[in-house]
């Protein structure tokens, strides 16, 4: 059995150590907000936080996580940064199909947690690993800036 701290709760799961966190979250724990996009850490749809840092869960074996805290899209709104990001996403109507947006929001929240006032190059560096096929990038950039402004206030 592997013990995982997911969204503030301890979960015990009976899975192989090499199983990526993504599938544990989705298929074993039933948290389907984290999405499968590519399986090779190329698209960012599976992004979650590990001790507040954005990681690609499709490429992260559960055996390597240990005690680190896992936060998913279902709980990111409990942090003030996460809530501001979600609000900015809705205020600017970023979302289209929405499938990649869990990952986008997790990457954006991790960025703002360490860099409260990111410039365009910070945003590029933090967000270039997240593909949006609908092409919502223009609004993602604007929403990150809006959320950053809200944090300041």
């Amino acid at each position: 059995m592997t013990k995982l701290q997911i969204n503030g709760q301890v979960r015990e799961v009976d899975v192989p150590d090499d199983m990526p966190l993504l599938w544990v979250l989705r298929d074993v724990v039933g948290l389907t907000g984290t999405k499968f996009g590519c399986g090779i850490a190329q698209c960012g749809a599976c992004t979650v936080h590990l001790d507040g840092k954005a990681v690609r869960s499709c490429f992260l074996p559960v055996g390597e996580i240990g005690n680190r805290a896992i936060t998913t899209i279902e709980a990111v709104g409990e942090t003030s940064v996460g809530a501001e990001v979600q609000k900015a996403w809705l205020d600017l109507e970023v979302v289209q199909c929405g499938y990649c947006q869990s990952g986008q929001i997790m990457s954006a929240a991790a960025l703002l947690a360490t860099t409260p006032h990111p410039d365009d190059s910070d945003i590029d560096a933090a967000m270039a690993g997240n593909i949006c096929r609908c092409g919502t990038y223009v609004r993602i950039r604007a929403a990150i800036k809006k959320a950053a402004g809200a944090q300041q206030a």
């Binding site: 899975v15 192989p16 199983m19 990526p20 599938w23 544990v24 989705r26 298929d27 074993v28 039933g30 948290l31 389907t32 907000g33 984290t34 999405k35 499968f36 996009g37 590519c38 399986g39 090779i40 190329q42 698209c43 749809a45 998913t72 899209i73 279902e74 709104g77 979600q86 996403w89 809705l90 109507e93 979302v95 289209q96 199909c97 929405g98 499938y99 990649c100 947006q101 869990s102 929001i105 945003i123 590029d124 560096a125 967000m127 270039a128 690993g129 997240n130 593909i131 949006c132 096929r133 609908c134 092409g135 919502t136 990038y137 223009v138 609004r139 993602i140 950039r141």
Partner: protein, 732 residues
């Protein structure tokens, strides 16, 4: 706001037939199709199942319960384009429902009840959801409103004409009395629908034209939204599949000894053309599939490669095609003048929606449930009936939000495969493609080869011949759309090109590529035609010594004034004509596609190594009445990025009968750090709404191509842009 986009649990919708839902259901709202195909295509009646959520169910789209809750049943699939919100706005406008209390739900499969008035079948595509359903949904709302008003007037014993409706209430103006829709639901259900519902004057619209918040997005920012891939019926198992990497190949032998011993692997399903591994989770299925040793019988296509594909289509394009349109005498005009000729090539493209193809099925002897996100609900039900041998009425489809469609989910191949796997599995099974399977087993945007010949006279086009060579997707997908050798999608935006050309002719040569299946891809036929035409127009402008904007305006002003106005606005907003640094250029493209008039100007920089940096794209858009202006801007922004991806990177190549690309590392997508500034300017209009979802995708490639032409003088003739050519290491 209470919003229910999709059922939270995969519970079957309650069902009853159209005849049981009241007198109105079979009425005139289902008639009046606008399309020449619809009459022939409809009705291929299914079981007519309709959701039941309240006593007042005046038609297929509106349900009002006694508490006044208004549920709207959405005929079209929500795949990000915002159709749930736009359709809800149109109905709520005429119904005078309080918009912040309406909820929406996916329609069940039924061509007869929910068929798209343009196609005649239940399908979301061709950017036509708003224009196809515009009148029908307004009539549905207005009819229901009239019934509610009449119910209230009867109760008050007053003339219905002395009553109004607003905010989900009927109001008797003189006395100030009010009755909520919920309180009228039972009485309104007994009222006969009006023979001819009176529609609002657009100047009285309260919702249409306002940038309202989308109904589907709140659940998409907190992980609660459910897509097909999120379905978890009790006891579900997880499967992933491998079809033969060579198109059309079969399974010869499978050694499953290593896979069977992997923990969590439950079953290996070997079918004629594919192998599936079923497990306790996707990881078991995936590792199990990798552990199989599959010997394929590659079949007759193992020799097919991209070089053959291009050689064949080029040869096919040398024959004259079926004539799709003639104006004047193009042949004579081309003989009389100094003809200029060019050809343009577009590659195969995969759709690559972020949600990989997936489908959850539970096949039982007495019925079958299908959970999926599809653009073709009734076709999904029909394929399930066909595979299982069950009657349509025994197939329950639970349509979900789509994690991107782009045309991929107009196909049911993945659903059909999941059903065949599901027949071998006891209990529900969720079949999920790996990204590699998704990219290598698509229905690809076809390769196209366009030849255009033209002559100039007094600085304008005098003769024009456009020969389009490519696959006919319609011939397979919707045979009514292919007749006398012409595919109506293949010639879309070519036969109705916007310029005033006295002698023009458009031909279509149907040429199916070997082995590769083709399908609709965001932008469909206009993608090809707008790229070829607008690229060539720039080459003609240069020949004529004219500015590309002026050259176009002269030929648009009379024939297509709405497009001319859009072009003038785009030119002004983009700073057209102002000086730019070296190796930087602006390019323009205009289009009348999907009944919208759009001018786009791109600004790009090309470095000595041939890298293209897109700085800015400006579009001016006249799409008629803009139902939700913010969604329209969003669709343009996203569509321009989708098209930019195709122009810079998009290409599927074939070698030894198989697709060479496999995932986002080698089938590249535009990312945020490459995204230009995008300015979209909406032009106010009282014309009927046009389509918008695909227009940006169509607009970007030619505008970018022409910007590169302006920056470098290199007339690129194929997509994606070849960096070797731009670096001067290869000829066009």
């Amino acid at each position: 706001m209470t919003v229910h986009v999709a059922p939270k649990s995969p519970k079957p919708l309650s069902r009853r037939t159209i005849l049981q839902t009241g007198a109105a259901a079979g009425g005139g709202l289902l008639l009046g199709f606008q399309s020449p195909f619809a009459a022939a295509a409809i009705p291929n009646a299914t079981d007519g199942a309709m959701p039941e959520t309240g006593p007042f169910a005046p038609d297929a789209f509106i349900r009002i319960d006694r508490a006044g809750r208004v549920s709207l049943i959405m005929p079209q699939a929500e795949m990000g384009q915002g159709v749930y919100t736009a359709h809800a706005m149109i109905i709520a406008e005429e119904l005078d429902a309080a918009f912040d209390t309406v909820s929406v739900q996916a329609s069940p499969p039924s061509d007869a009840l929910y068929g798209n008035p343009i196609f005649g079948i239940q399908a979301t595509g061709n950017s036509n959801s708003v224009r196809a359903f515009w009148t029908k949904l307004r009539q549905a709302g207005a009819s229901a409103r009239a019934m509610l008003v009449e119910a209230a007037a009867t109760q008050w014993k007053v003339d219905p004409a002395s009553c109004t409706a607003s905010n989900s209430e009927v109001i008797h103006t003189a006395s100030g009395r009010k009755l909520a829709y919920g309180a009228l639901a039972d009485a309104a259900a007994k009222v006969s629908p009006p023979a001819k519902p009176v529609l609002k004057n657009p100047k009285d619209f309260k919702l249409i034209g306002k940038p309202l918040k989308r109904l589907d997005t709140p659940d998409k920012v907190n992980g609660n939204a459910l897509y097909g891939i999120d379905m978890m019926p009790a006891g579900v198992k997880f499967a992933t599949i491998a079809a033969c990497p060579v198109f059309g190949g079969k399974v010869a032998h499978v050694d499953d000894s290593a896979a069977k011993v992997i923990p969590g692997v439950r079953q290996i399903v070997v079918l004629d053309d594919l192998v599936a591994v079923v497990g306790d989770h996707m990881w078991a299925a995936k590792t199990g599939l990798s552990a199989l040793t599959i010997t394929w019988d590659e079949g007759p296509n193992a020799h097919v490669d991209s070089a053959t594909v291009w050689k064949d289509i080029k040869a096919a394009s040398e024959q004259e095609g079926a004539v799709a349109k003639t104006v004047g005498d193009a042949k004579k005009a081309l003989q009389d003048g100094d003809a200029i000729e060019a050809h343009y090539e577009l590659p195969f493209l995969a759709h690559a929606p972020m949600e990989p193809i997936n489908c959850t099925v539970h096949v039982r002897p007495d019925g079958c449930d299908v959970w999926v996100g599809t653009q073709v609900q009734a076709r999904t039900q029909a394929i399930a009936a066909k595979v299982t041998g069950l009657p349509l009425a025994k197939i329950t489809l639970h349509n979900q939000l789509l994690g991107g469609g782009f045309g991929r989910r107009l196909e049911v191949d993945g659903i059909e495969k999941a059903l065949r796997v599901g027949q071998k599995v006891d209990g529900p099974v969720k079949v999920v493609y790996t990204r590699e399977e998704d990219i290598q087993h698509d229905a690809y945007r076809p390769v196209y080869y366009d030849r255009i010949t033209a002559t100039l006279k007094d600085g304008r086009i005098d003769g024009w011949n456009h020969r389009i060579t490519g696959s006919s997707i319609m011939a397979r997908w919707f045979p009514l759309g292919f007749s006398h050798g012409v595919d109506i999608d293949g010639v879309d935006s070519a036969i109705d090109e916007p310029y005033d050309i006295p002698n023009m002719r458009v031909e279509f040569v149907r040429h199916e590529p070997p082995a590769v299946s083709t399908g609709f891809w965001r932008g469909v036929g206009p993608n090809n035609n707008v790229f070829a035409i607008e690229s060539f127009i720039d080459e003609l402008a240069k020949k004529a010594g004219r500015d590309p904007v002026d050259f176009r305006l002269a030929m648009l002003a009379k024939k297509t004034p709405r497009l001319a106005a859009a072009l003038k606005l785009a030119a002004q907003k983009s700073g057209w004509g102002s000086p730019l640094p070296p190796r930087t250029g602006r390019g323009v493209a205009v289009q009348v596609s999907f009944a919208s008039f759009i001018a786009t100007i791109a600004e790009v920089e090309v470095d000595r190594e041939g890298h293209v940096r897109v700085h800015r794209i400006t579009s001016a858009v006249d799409t008629g009445i803009a139902v939700n202006p913010d969604s329209i801007v969003a669709q343009l922004q996203g569509g321009l990025i989708f098209g930019t991806t195709a122009a810079l990177y998009g290409e599927i190549t074939i070698d030894k009968g198989r697709v060479q690309q496999s995932n986002f590392n080698n089938y590249r997508m535009l990312r945020i750090d490459e995204t230009p500034a995008i300015d979209v300017h909406l032009i106010e209009s009282g014309e009927a709404p046009g389509g918008i979802g695909e227009t940006g995708t169509t607009a970007a490639p030619p505008a970018l191509r022409n910007a590169i032409y302006a920056a470098t003088g290199i007339p690129l003739r194929r997509l994606p842009f070849d960096r070797e050519v731009l670096a001067g290491r290869k000829r066009v």
